[in-house]
């Protein structure tokens, strides 16, 4: 049976992992390679590096970080942030990413999803969608790291991303990001029920029950977790124990190999 994944997200700026609240107020949480391998050992099913660099200089370092990480990491690695073209996707895959997520670039030029999927397969193309509840209750898509609103409605946009070749949706609630009050269940369910590819719930994880709710109530295939792990409030193993007790299939902790 396909297990429910716990994905650990590391926001990378320059060569460091940082964490913000509602996309602002960044603080340093550590070295990306060391953190990624530590989370693998703790039982993480996947690692996502989200490049939140502000400059081209910082951005250039991410591929090097990916390369060094891939040498030591033996679980899937997704890279997102600043990926604009199929050539960028190729470079990220070459550097060691297994999947690449596209966000603002897909909004400005949706064809890039098809170009990447045709060349590398849908399974490595992730459409990353940042959504925020707007006036009247509809979820709107925001871009540029949550700074710029678009006219797109999140559920319809997710469907279009899939139609254009995305093999997975990474769905982040801007309202919940860093708030630790739980994922946006309504948003996640609306998207998960509207598309036939895996949906990763993101933004708002505060405790293990939030992960269970995202899967059971919102039909997410996977959950993305960051801050509560980086702050040492819980561990991947502890989160998975609660998921398992709730009846969800999760991968057991990898055994220690000496």
């Amino acid at each position: 049976m396909l297990t429910r994944r716990v994905i650990v997200c590391l926001d990378v700026k320059g060569a460091r992992v940082v964490k913000g609240v509602q996309f602002v107020g960044l603080r340093d949480v550590g070295d990306p390679v060391a953190l990624a391998t530590r989370y693998e050992a703790e039982g993480a099913d996947e690692i996502t590096f989200l490049d939140i660099s502000a400059s081209a200089e910082e951005r250039a370092t991410l591929l090097d970080v990916a390369r060094r990480t891939a040498e030591q990491l033996f679980i899937p690695l997704t890279i997102g942030g600043g990926v604009r073209t199929a050539a960028d996707v190729a470079r990220a895959l070459r550097a060691g990413a297994d999947k690449v997520s596209l966000n603002s670039a897909a909004v400005s030029r949706p064809e890039v999803l098809t170009e990447a999927a045709d060349r590398f397969g849908a399974q490595c193309v992730v459409a990353s969608i940042d959504a925020k509840r707007g006036e009247g209750g509809a979820w709107k898509v925001w871009v540029k790291g949550g700074r710029e609103e678009t006219p797109l409605e999140a559920v319809a946009w997710a469907q279009e991303c899939v139609a254009r070749g995305a093999g997975e949706i990474l769905l982040t609630s801007i309202d919940r990001d860093g708030a630790r009050i739980g994922y946006d269940i309504e948003l996640t369910r609306a998207v998960a029920d509207a598309v036939q590819v895996p949906v990763i719930a993101s933004g708002g994880a505060g405790d293990a029950q939030h992960l269970v709710d995202a899967v059971q109530q919102a039909h997410a295939d996977a959950v993305l977790v960051a801050g509560i792990l980086h702050d040492g409030l819980t561990t991947v193993a502890a989160l998975k124990d609660v998921m398992r007790s709730a009846g969800l299939p999760v991968r057991a902790l990898p055994e220690i190999v000496v």
Partner: protein, 226 residues
């Protein structure tokens, strides 16, 4: 002083991430080279690896010029590990697109029959009896998949399935083995410690074969000797 190393060639269809695959193959007992030419990939080597990222048609195009040479080498006993798309290339054809596979196994590659496709994530293996040595020694249990297409062996090839897995209601081969040729629909190089052990177990078998044949660490090319 030199160590006799296992020579591994990785056939590169220029589709994606070879980095962690190459890293999982590199040990103090191996030398790994990446080959873009399919015929060169089966020359002067002790083991061939067909990596797992890409689409069937571009990969079959890359393979075409050396397809018959590669097929002959595999039928002759060259150890081969095909991962994901690399396993699919061991079969005849794919619904993903036109192109000719290696036909080491008979059957077609078809789309997963499930609601959520691609299948992305960790799924459990259902090994067939008797348990294959590679699965036994690695202790593989839950492995990472990222695929929209799966292999459907026909005729006698169905006997070569060493493990199945099930996504929703579709049960399909997770791994096949015919002689020294091994195919994995999952990504062992992404399946954490047990996955790496599976790759290493395959390499150990290839090393034993190369040692028996006296080719380990050999600098004499097969072209010259034949």
């Amino acid at each position: 002083m030199s160590i006799d190393r296992l020579r591994i060639s990785v056939f590169d269809y220029e589709a994606g991430n070879l980095h962690s695959l190459v890293k999982s193959l590199e040990t103090e007992f191996t030398t790994v080279r990446v080959e873009r030419d399919p015929a060169a990939a089966v020359r002067n080597t002790d083991a061939l690896v067909l990596p797992g990222v890409g689409a069937f048609t571009p990969a079959a195009d890359r393979l075409a010029s050396g397809r018959d040479v590669m097929r002959a080498a595999l039928l002759d006993g060259l150890p081969c590990l095909g991962i994901c798309l690399g396993m699919q290339l061991l079969f005849d054809h794919s619904d993903e697109g036109p192109g000719e596979g290696l036909s080491v196994l008979t059957g077609r590659v078809t789309r997963l029959d499930a609601q959520r496709v691609p299948q992305i994530g960790w799924n459990t293996l259902e090994p067939t009896a008797p348990l294959d040595a590679l699965l036994a020694s690695s202790g593989l249990d839950t492995v990472y998949f990222a695929n929209s297409f799966v292999c459907r062996p026909t005729g006698a090839s169905a006997q070569h399935v060493i493990a199945y897995t099930t996504h929703e209601t579709d049960r399909f081969p997770a791994a096949v083995r015919v002689g020294n040729v091994v195919g994995a629909q999952f990504h062992p190089e992404k399946s954490s410690a047990a996955g790496v052990r599976f790759v290493r177990a395959f390499l150990r078998e290839a090393t034993q074969r190369a040692a028996q044949r006296g080719t380990l660490g050999s600098s004499v090319t097969e072209d010259v000797t034949s």
